[in-house]
Amino acid sequence: MSSPLDKPQIISHFQKSLNYTVFDSKWIPCSAKFVCLGNYARGTGVMQIYEVQQGEAQLIKEQEFPKPIKCGTFGATSLQQRHLATGDFGGNLNIWNLEVSGTPVFSVKAHKEIINSIDGVGGLGIGDGAPEIVTGSRDGTVKVWDTRQKDSPVANMEPGEGETKRDCWTVALGHAFNDQDRCVCAGYDNGDIKLFDLRNMSLRWETNIKNGVCCVEFDRKDINMNKLVATSLEGKFHVFDMRTQHPTKGFSSVSEKAHKSTIWQVKHLPQNRDIFMTTGGAGNLNLWKYEYPSQRSKTDSDDLAVGVAGSVTLLQNATVSTQPIASLDWSPDKKGLCVCSGFDQTVRVLIVTKLSQV
């Protein structure tokens, strides 16, 4: 009787029903507030800021925008400023000061089509080097922006002239362990995962996981890249061991099939990089733990080092909704507290217990 209750439990703290489609929800660092981004039925974008008070959410601020907002990140802002970088349906990248409504701090028409995914690094006291924002769009390009350089991106990964474009569905930054190195990982709808090295400005690795890639995330942005989780359609996700790259075989990986439907998001626990949560298209959440193998690399027949992938165990699962959970964000301040939002126009704050004992 006691052993099932010794596992981490996913408990719903409260949920808030919204009157718009919410695409993304993120904790505001160093506070008990979170921001929800989405679009109203009338086709305009909305950003709402809620504060968690006594077991429910109080709306603090609301702002409407001409275009619906798809994604946002606090990754590239400092702890004092806490500006939110958002990508919207019109391909505009804006950085907002949440205290001040009106004009954004930084604005650029980044892409010709909707920005599907955004990530930032170098802010929040995490990582060295300049803060940079990466955006991935339906026009097939991935662009890296530095707020000091407004008119053109610092790096642009695009297909050649006349070549077919595939939608870029997700981007992630990592390998930012000093102020020069950065890596951008991008996932596309035809199953391609590409890893770009921004120091050498080249493609470092690419692979195809045979299903459209919904979300990629490094386990930590500010270390030498350790693990990368990529989730895809058809309920599969892959965990790549990024420490050892083989010249032809690339990175080794372990894959799991879960959720029986699209895995929309994966997010690593900020306090423990081996625990991550995946969200599924049927409104379920799975909490996983990665275990390292006894030897992380071995030499193959040609005397080249090749990585060894470990194993993944399911710690807990919970079904909180019937619609896909499109976004999940762990609170960087309180271990186990997370906010997730789904396409049932609801944002939920969940508590995951006993994570220290895993």
Binding site: A32, G129, N156, R166, N211, I351
Partner: protein, 416 residues
């Protein structure tokens, strides 16, 4: 006809009557008892013993014991009276029958009610068992829910406490800053003028826990590296024909569709024998058209014509092939063939929609120029005018049309 047993014996006490009936070798299982309060029957085929009791007895407490070749029946009396006789002998046949039937009925009723009460009791027990189980499960569930609730409350409390501590930290920060500012204002120092401004802005800090990093505003922030030098990385995607996302489960369907498309594009005609020695690509009219276009561009007009011929043989309904072959013939000065091909192209390009306007314009121009070279300027002008209608802004076209008009005028006046 059963044999009546008469050699029974009976004794009595104040409250009970004991009857002993010899079983005459019958086995215990075969003995059947029927007793009501006024009638007793013991039946062990072929023997029958029946007694019409003189006084009523308590049938619920009557018992019978079978053993040692006798059946001992114990009948507790309803009233403690001494029985003169065991049985009533004065009953006539009718009465006996009546009593028997009554007894039988009563017995059956008794059995019925017994079975009913047994069934009821069983059901009551089952219900009780079910309720108890449900209660246990509910308790279990409640226990789990309570644990979760406790966890939640604990976390809420922790969160509230943390928020409070953040606020307090912010307040102390603000107070400290104010203090610093006041200290600095007392001893004015020029270089700190700028920092003061920064601090006063920070003093307006809202109580949401931003304060702790303001403390570090005293020391200069580490200089950020310059933005990277802009670079482009060219990307090539794994080729995919369909615009939809790749799903493993859909791959077989997609392959099938592609195969069917490829087959549909291939030769439908009968000259299979001749085409056997052609390679796979050479059967594809599109590939042949490309080949033809390349030859035309490089000036190999005969080669282009050959390619188009083969393509048309394979698939004669593509207007572009005819139109391009017309252009080749023009260059080769095969004017009649050019006219034929251009006409066919125009026929294939019906219905006249904006999508094929460019193609129709081209075909018209080619036919027009063929006519002109054959000196059939009237027809040529017609075609050029049609082309101009489709593509009114083409300067070269306008100039050519004008030239033809002039020639026509000139020849008209010339003949007059």
């Amino acid at each position: 006809m059963p044999l009546i047993v008469t050699d029974y014996s009976w004794t009595q006490t104040d409250s009970t009557v004991f009857i002993s009936v010899p079983l005459k070798g019958a086995r215990a299982e075969r003995v059947d008892f029927l007793s009501t309060e006024e009638y007793l029957k013991v039946h062990y085929p072929p023997y029958l013993f029946e007694a019409f009791l003189s006084e009523p007895v308590d049938e619920d407490r009557s018992t019978a014991k079978v053993g040692n070749g006798v059946a001992v029946i114990t009948l507790p009396k309803c009233s403690n009276a001494f029985w003169e006789h065991l049985v009533i002998t004065t009953y006539d046949k009718e009465k006996k029958k009546e009593v028997r039937e009554r007894a039988l009925l009563k017995y059956q009723e008794r059995l019925c009610s017994e079975s009913r009460s047994k069934a009821e009791k069983q059901q009551a027990e089952k219900k009780y068992a079910l309720e108890t189980m449900m209660k246990f499960e509910k308790e279990e569930r409640d226990r789990i829910v309570k644990r979760k609730e406790d966890e939640r409350e604990k976390t809420t409390a922790e969160l509230a406490a943390w928020q409070l501590s953040q606020r307090e930290a912010a307040e102390t920060e603000a107070r400290r800053k104010l203090q610093d500012q006041r200290d600095r204002q007392d001893k004015p120092k020029a270089p700190t003028g700028k920092q003061e401004k920064g601090c006063s802005e920070g003093a307006k800090v809202k109580l949401d826990g931003r304060g702790n990093s303001e403390a570090k505003s005293q020391k200069a922030p580490a200089p950020l590296p310059a933005p990277r030098r802009t670079a482009h990385i060219q990307v090539r995607f794994t080729p995919r024909v369909f615009p939809t996302a790749l799903r493993e489960s859909r791959v077989p369907e997609e392959e099938e569709w592609l195969q069917k498309q490829a087959e549909g594009r291939r030769a439908g005609n009968a000259d299979v024998e001749e085409l056997k020695d052609l390679r796979e690509e050479e059967r594809n009219p599109e590939w042949l058209k490309d080949k033809g276009d390349q030859c035309f561009a490089s000036g190999d007009f005969l080669g282009a014509v050959n390619a188009y011929n083969l393509a048309i043989r394979l698939h004669s309904k593509i207007p572009a092939l005819h139109s391009n072959r017309a252009a080749c013939h023009l260059k080769l000065k095969n004017l009649h063939k050019a006219i034929e091909d251009a006409s066919q192209a125009l026929d294939l390009l019906t219905p006249a929609v904006p999508a094929n306007a460019a193609a129709r314009a081209r075909a018209s121009v080619r036919r027009g120029s063929a006519f002109c070279q054959l000196q059939l300027y009237a027809e040529g002008l017609q075609d050029y005018q049609a082309a101009l209608k489709l593509d009114p802004h083409n300067a070269a076209l306008q100039a050519d049309t004008q030239t033809i008009r002039d020639i026509l005028q000139g020849s008209a006046t010339g003949t007059h």
